[in-house]
């Protein structure tokens, strides 16, 4: 090899089964020197980190999506296969593969190792979680195993940072020598070849691994409770309840802080910049726009904290197991559970996490129904209307009516999401049902450091990606609500004269049958920036002062102006309407085109209109008009 080859950074890639601790190893090896982006042209997450090899040579380490086989099925697995084969567009082939294996669960990964061997790229096997294997008294003949697979082996404990030097040493020797490299002879195996590989893997396993003296019995005992048909669902329900309590109560002070911070920032800018267009663009457009999205960050971080802990501990697959029949009845895949759960905080991270779903139709269905889950941006709208119109009476002596209405709105969202996906899967995309097959991993204590690092990655992705999509949209909505200016000496709020106002007036006749007046219609236009912006917009249109009591004042005002039927119709609208440009933007990104955001917009608007129309007319007929 020439000097130029040796001096350029080496390219390493991690491959392995799901639950092998691959990401923990990636975090341990690269620390904070990570970059998260997308692979060119596909919406698969590309995680790359930088590290230094002994001898000073730099290296790029790619964390490839987990897989059981190179015979890829999902977009994630296709990336892994193509990266391993060096065929991924926009990527240079890795010099060395690091195959990560759970030392206590070698059976399936050995077959993957045999596939990797065919690829002909030098690789090293990292036997991760080696401490657990030792504690169980599992004996692995490392020398023999290394000879059988024709690759060096390093034993690691990613969470304790043990064995990392040895692993990197072995990888860097391979990167320099290219020992064991040969032409790729891998091709998609037939069933017969998979069987043969299994038999070979089994032979190697029996020759090199002595079964544990003290096998893990804890997982079985925990599962006896958590997977008990009735108790399991009950515990899952309790867990979700605690999670939502945490998301909404813990996040509140932080959200207040962010709101105050952005208000102060906005006031500061307003004090420095002269009144006018630039000031308005920065304060009303940029700062208010970014603030209205960042305010959800605390909820998203808390939600992801729970999700990561549940994932790392091994519980998430159990939750998918318990929920599969319920989700499957609606034509959803068990794995859709996590994205839909995230959508209760915000549909954007929910839609981004549908990447774990292999099948295209399953994934699209989940994306399409995710915004029907009651995201937290709807809460300010719901609270405003409920506080203004729903009397504080008790139902059956204990339940408060406003609480019941709130619950009803959440339930309507969930039920309609299930109904919509049922209709999509049973009418539009009938055909085959994707198998639900999942390994139930051994329970483990989540590693705090690992959880925190992954949490940081999640938060960064949300800020970066959402920011990139949301910012231009915010500016667009600002332009629509600002231009043109009202004429000299015009009476009424300025927004009334803007494009938003004109659009509002233009579509007002269409909205009249569902009980909306023109003020409401006008407020809906800036409300596309984010659902809760509609509250502020209603304030603007009704020209209420911007003081702290605006919420209560606005409530009083609305109570005087709207009939109960109109208020209920507005609530129904907000359950279904795609009042969030950022969600549509994310859907466009995730599906690579405008088709699915358009479909989403049309079906949700249609449902919203239908629901509001029904609610309004039923309410009027009952005398609430």
């Amino acid at each position: 090899m020439t000097d130029t080859v040796a001096s350029r950074p080496a390219r390493l890639a991690l491959v392995g089964n799901p639950n092998s601790g691959k990401t923990a190893l990636f975090n341990a090896l690269t620390g904070s020197r990570q970059k998260v982006a997308n692979y060119a042209g596909v919406t698969v997450e590309r995680k790359e980190g930088v590290l230094t090899l002994p001898g000073g040579r730099g290296a790029h380490l790619l964390d490839l999506p987990g897989t059981y086989s190179l015979r890829a099925r999902s977009p994630d697995e296709i990336v892994t296969r193509d990266a391993v084969l060096g065929k991924l567009s926009g990527e240079t082939a890795p010099d060395v593969l690091i195959c990560v294996a759970d030392a206590t669960n070698l059976r399936l990964v050995l077959r993957l190792v045999l596939e990797l061997k065919q690829v002909g790229r030098p690789f090293v096997l990292a036997l991760n979680m080696y401490d657990i294997a030792q504690r169980q008294g599992l004996r692995i003949d490392l020398e023999r195993l290394s000879a059988e697979i024709g690759a060096p082996i390093a034993t690691t404990v990613a969470t304790r940072k043990r064995g990392l030097d040895e692993l990197i040493d072995k990888a860097s020797i391979l990167a320099a020598s290219h020992a064991g490299a040969h032409e790729n002879v891998w091709r998609e195996p037939t069933a017969a070849e998979i069987r043969a590989a299994h038999a070979e893997a089994q032979r190697i396993f029996k020759a090199c691994v002595r079964p544990p003296e003290r096998p893990d019995t804890v997982t079985g005992k925990i599962d006896a409770v958590l997977l008990n048909p009735a108790a399991g669902l009950l515990i899952l329900g309790l867990l979700l309840f605690v999670m939502f309590q945490a998301v909404f109560t813990w996040a509140e002070p932080l959200m207040g802080l962010i709101e105050t911070g952005f208000a102060a920032l906005s006031a500061g800018v307003a004090a420095v910049l002269p009144d006018g267009l630039l000031q308005s663009l920065i304060t009303d457009g940029l700062i208010a726009g970014v603030g209205s999205v960042l305010v959800f960050l605390p909820q998203i971080v808390i939600l992801f904290f729970f999700i990561l802990v549940l994932e790392d501990s091994g519980y998430m697959t159990r939750a998918a197991f318990l929920m599969d029949k319920i989700m499957g009845g609606a034509g959803l895949h068990g794995r859709a559970f996590i994205p839909l759960l995230s959508s209760f905080a915000c549909a954007i991270p929910g839609i981004m996490s549908t990447r774990v779903i292999d099948n295209k139709h399953d994934r699209l269905t989940t994306i399409l129904v995710a915004p029907l889950m009651t995201c937290s941006a709807r809460i300010p709208v719901y609270t405003l209307i409920i506080a203004a119109f729903i009397p504080h009476t008790k139902v059956w002596g204990v339940l408060s009516l406003p609480g019941l209405v709130m619950f009803g709105l959440y339930a309507t969202g969930i039920v309609s999401a299930l109904l919509v996906s049922f209709v999509i899967r049973k009418i539009f995309w009938r055909g085959t049902v994707e198998p639900f097959m999942m390994e139930l991993p051994t329970y483990r204590w989540p590693e705090p450091r690992n959880v925190l690092m992954n949490l940081w990655t999640r938060a960064r992705i949300f800020i970066e990606r959402a920011g990139r999509i949301i910012l231009p949209l915010m500016i667009l909505v600002w332009v629509l609500s600002t231009f043109p200016y009202p004429p000299e000496g015009a009476a009424g709020p300025a927004i009334d004269y803007s494009f938003a106002g004109r659009i509002g007036h233009f579509i007002a006749p269409v909205m009249q049958p569902i009980g909306f007046n023109w003020q409401m219609t006008v407020a809906l236009i800036p409300g596309f920036a984010a659902r809760e912006v509609a509250v502020a917009a209603l304030g603007t249109v009704y020209a209420v002062g911007g003081d702290d009591e605006a919420g209560t004042n606005l409530g009083h005002l609305l109570a005087g102006q709207w009939s109960l039927a109109t208020a209920l119709s507005f609530l129904a609208w907000y359950v279904f309407a795609p009042q969030c440009a950022a969600t549509l933007g994310v859907v466009k990104r995730e599906t690579n085109g405008w088709t699915w955001p358009t479909v989403m917009f049309l079906y949700m608007t249609g449902l919203a209109y239908l629901a509001s129309f029904t609610v309004y007319h039923v309410a009027v007929a009952l005398g609430a008009g």
Partner: protein, 107 residues
């Protein structure tokens, strides 16, 4: 299929032992035995291509000769099921389990 049969002699001793054969989809919690055949039609219209299903099952460790035990059943329609396959735990729906033929161990 012929490949499955070519492997069969290895497990002939097991098959001859005892117990009835049947699809894994009919197994109840606590039942155990040995996998004797993977693949073939599930007889369910919504299933994916049988060859693809066969390969996926194999990749998840459902292979002829592996010992199994049904560990858990879902609440609704006793579906999906959690199965111990050799020393791993795998969850799957009964729809797919229909493609795995097992020999039950007699209680």
């Amino acid at each position: 299929m012929s490949d499955a049969l070519s492997l069969a002699p290895e497990f002939a001793a097991l098959s001859a032992a005892r117990g009835a054969e049947g699809p894994l989809s009919t197994a109840r919690k606590g039942q155990r035995g040995v996998i004797v055949r993977v693949g073939g039609e599930t007889g369910r219209s919504e299933s994916i291509d049988p060859d693809e299903l066969e390969r996926r099952l194999l990749e998840m460790g459902f292979v002829e000769g592996a010992a199994f035990e049904v560990l858990h059943e879902g609440l609704f329609g006793r579906d999906p099921i959690a199965v111990r396959v050799d020393d791993m735990r795998v969850a799957l729906r009964r729809r797919e389990a229909a493609a795995v033929t097992v020999q039950f161990e007699e209680a």
